[in-house]
């Protein structure tokens, strides 16, 4: 397999702040340096693009020294947190923006689906827009004409095809737009978050189309998404971007686990620890920490759907004889109250404690919840009914889907819980 894309020392600098009268002085200075054959005075400035920290320079590197290669027929995933430079990289690859330094070399036509439906004109009919949009994406008229029936069928908008697009529902618009884009036949296709559009049935079609594209073996797809399930299922290799640089690249599974393990900068929400003096509790009991763990005792931020999660509560019994019990409550993102679980089956339930440090553990079984964030509240009760403390939504449990239990479906899986129910079909007659 030959290399179809080669990216060398690619960098992109952006200027922060407003463009105003200050710009003209920088422009003039830059021009003056250029006139004397000197280097751009602002090219050396610039900092790593970490938007959480206040910087000292007006210039920032959205991408810095990116190097990678893509082989023919490869389905490459590009992952990274928000602001890592994914979109900038795609913009450079699709020639929408131009690099500050470095080069991109490619073999064949690059087409990008950064956002479908670009250039749709409300006044024109669906059919006219197919031609217009196709031409914008780089197809010739003859190409579009030969695929017109296929495009219309794929979009499922036959009935409306001679109606102005302004009468379309937003879903129909997107379907038609994606249908045009999906029938492009470039050697290199760049796809950004297609999974975010359309309903489940349409997403399935879209994913299927992407798989078909790469199956032929000659065409290459670069796929950017926050949907790890889709990345894992579609791509073989991935590039992990962080703060504008290639942090790591290789096998897609490894990259996803690096991506998930990388939490610095973000607020730690699966671990709460209180210093002495500020601990919640009463004169007999105080809570030291509450955190989530996986089966290997790792305190992760995110857990896979199919693994057990342990809620560990560490506390100090300051005097002898306290008889405590816990209760946890779990809420969905929309504040839905999902469940409560008191510690009735705990061997220490209402048994007097000695002085010392204890750890209570509550196991959340695998395959119980669906993807997403869940808030957990902890209630600590002493002597049957005296509430010592009620820590509301104190930690967050985040589940992500590793795609193992999905079959061939990559769309949104609705519902707060996702237990595996038993299915069985028998022939009865």
């Amino acid at each position: 397999m030959s290399t179809v894309i080669k990216v060398e020392n690619l960098s992109k600098q952006y200027r922060l702040g407003e463009v105003g009268s200050g710009t003209i002085s920088h422009d003039l200075n830059r021009w003056w340096h250029k006139l004397r054959g000197k280097e751009d005075p602002y090219i050396k400035l610039g900092e790593v693009n970490d938007r959480t920290i206040k910087g000292t320079s007006d210039y920032v590197w959205a991408l810095r020294d990116i190097n990678f290669e893509v082989k023919q027929g490869e389905l490459l995933g590009i992952i990274g947190k928000n602001g890592a430079g994914k979109s900038t990289l795609l913009k450079l690859l699709s020639r929408v923006a131009s690099p500050t330094l470095g080069t991109i070399k490619a073999k064949g036509r690059i087409a990008s689906l950064l956002e479908v439906g670009t250039g749709f004109n409300d006044q024109l009919t669906g059919r006219e827009n197919v031609f217009l949009n196709g031409a914008i994406l780089g197809m010739t008229k003859a190409e579009i004409r030969s695929k017109l029936d296929e495009i219309i069928a794929f979009s499922g908008t036959e009935r409306y095809i001679d109606t102005p697009v302004k009468r379309y529902s937003s879903g129909m618009r997107v379907r038609l737009a994606f249908a045009v884009a999906a029938h492009l036949e470039p050697e290199i296709l760049i796809v950004d978050e297609v999974l975010a559009v359309g309903d489940a049935e349409f997403q399935k079609k879209a994913i299927g189309k992407m798989q078909d594209v790469s199956k032929g073996g000659n065409r290459t797809v670069l796929f950017v998404s926050h949907n790890m399930a889709a990345i894992q299922a579609l791509c073989s290799r991935a590039i992990l971007l962080k703060n504008g640089s290639v942090w790591n690249q290789g096998n897609v599974k490894d990259m996803i686990s690096y991506y998930l393990a990388d939490n610095d900068g973000a607020e730690r929400k699966s671990y709460m620890h209180w210093k002495e003096g500020s601990r919640p509790g009463g004169e007999s009991i105080e809570i030291i920490s509450i955190h989530l763990e996986d089966s290997h005792s790792n305190n992760n931020e995110e857990f896979y759907l199919d693994e057990e999660v342990y809620i560990k509560i560490r506390f100090k019994s300051k005097s002898e004889g306290a008889r405590i019990n816990y209760s946890i409550s779990i809420y969905g993102k929309g504040e839905e109250y999902i469940l409560a679980s008191p510690s009735i089956n705990d061997p220490y339930y209402r048994i007097p404690l000695e002085e010392g440090i204890y750890e209570s553990c509550c196991v959340i079984p695998a395959n119980l919840f669906n993807e997403g964030d869940f808030n957990i509240s902890v209630l600590l009760v002493n002597n049957v009914n005296r509430v010592i403390c009620h820590l509301e939504k104190i930690i967050t449990l985040s589940y992500i889907d590793n795609g193992k239990k999905r079959g061939n479906y990559f769309g949104t899986w609705n519902g707060l819980i996702r237990p595996e129910l038993c299915w069985n079909t028998k022939k009865v007659e």
């Binding site: 020639r95 929408v96 923006a97 080069t103 070399k105 490619a106 073999k107 024109l124 010739t140």
Partner: protein, 283 residues
């Protein structure tokens, strides 16, 4: 695995040469140019009852208004030509020039949305504007010809002459000047929006500084250099001379706009090409 440099069909680099017109690319996207032209031409008059008739009505009413205001009320001389014909000749030309200039000068700012998502040679956009306006110009030109034949038929003192051969050149010159100027302004507005305000009333004012409403012979000597500096003055004068045999003809009236067109077009192209690559960061 060794790759020879020439194997790459696409190389994206920070800088390109000043005169890189990407003609090959433009040619490859010629269907897009055609789609844009159709879109501009069709979309404007969708959901109107009169449709393309508006192309006729607009210059017709302007001509009538000019005839009343400048001809009858202000009493400006038209050099012996029937005022309707005189004004319509000027307006047809000026409309084309002004429409092209105003639209092309908005290329980057007005299309930032689409430019930010898809790549195609940006120069397609101003080209499409110039071409689709040429269709509108064609329609208005037919109206002018109809009016002209009516006057010739009724025996007015107008006769087309051999200089008609220059008319295609005049149209091309108008297109090039408008496009060159438009690209220049469009490129500069990405950074400094001030120009957007300027172009709005600038085009209107420039009409008064051209020979749309008066003949060259009617210009007082002290303003002559100023008004003839506007290349549209010469173009309109030659246009009128060719169709109406009114006014005068000098080869200078052709040479000056040609030189002007070439210079402004090259300048516009250079700046446009430069900005094309970076405008997304500043727009």
């Amino acid at each position: 695995m060794k790759e020879k440099e020439e194997d790459w069909s696409l190389v994206i680099e920070p800088k390109s040469s000043l005169f890189d017109l990407q003609l090959k690319e433009v040619w490859r996207y010629r269907d897009l140019l055609q789609m844009f032209v159709t879109r501009d031409f069709i979309a404007v008059y969708k959901q109107t009852i009169l449709g393309p008739i508006w192309f006729f009505l607009q210059p017709l009413f302007t001509t009538i208004t000019f005839t009343i205001v400048f001809g009858n009320i202000a009493g400006i001389s038209t050099g012996g030509v029937p005022p309707l014909l005189f004004y319509m000749a000027g307006i047809t030309c000026w409309n084309y020039f002004a429409a092209c200039l105003t639209a092309t000068s908005n290329t980057f700012v007005g299309n930032a949305n689409i430019f930010g998502k898809v790549y195609f040679p940006r120069v397609i956009t101003p080209l499409a504007i110039v071409v689709s306006n040429m269709l509108k110009f064609g329609v208005q030109f037919v109206l002018f010809l109809l009016l002209l034949s009516y006057y010739i038929f009724t025996g007015a003192d107008v006769q087309p002459n051999a200089y008609l051969l220059l008319v295609p050149l005049l149209v091309v010159l108008m297109a090039i000047i408008a496009m060159g100027f438009g690209m220049l302004i469009s490129a500069m507005t990405t950074r400094y929006r001030d120009l957007q305000f300027l172009i709005g009333f600038g085009v209107q004012l420039a009409m008064y500084a051209s020979t749309v409403i008066y003949p060259v012979s009617g210009i007082p000597e002290k303003y002559k250099t100023f008004i003839m500096a506007n290349p549209m003055s010469s173009i309109i004068e030659v246009f009128r001379f060719a169709f109406l045999s009114s006014g005068s003809f000098q080869w200078m009236y052709v040479i000056y706009p040609t030189v002007f067109a070439v210079v402004i077009f090259i300048l516009g192209m250079i700046v446009f090409n430069k900005v094309e690559k970076t405008f997304l960061d500043t727009v």
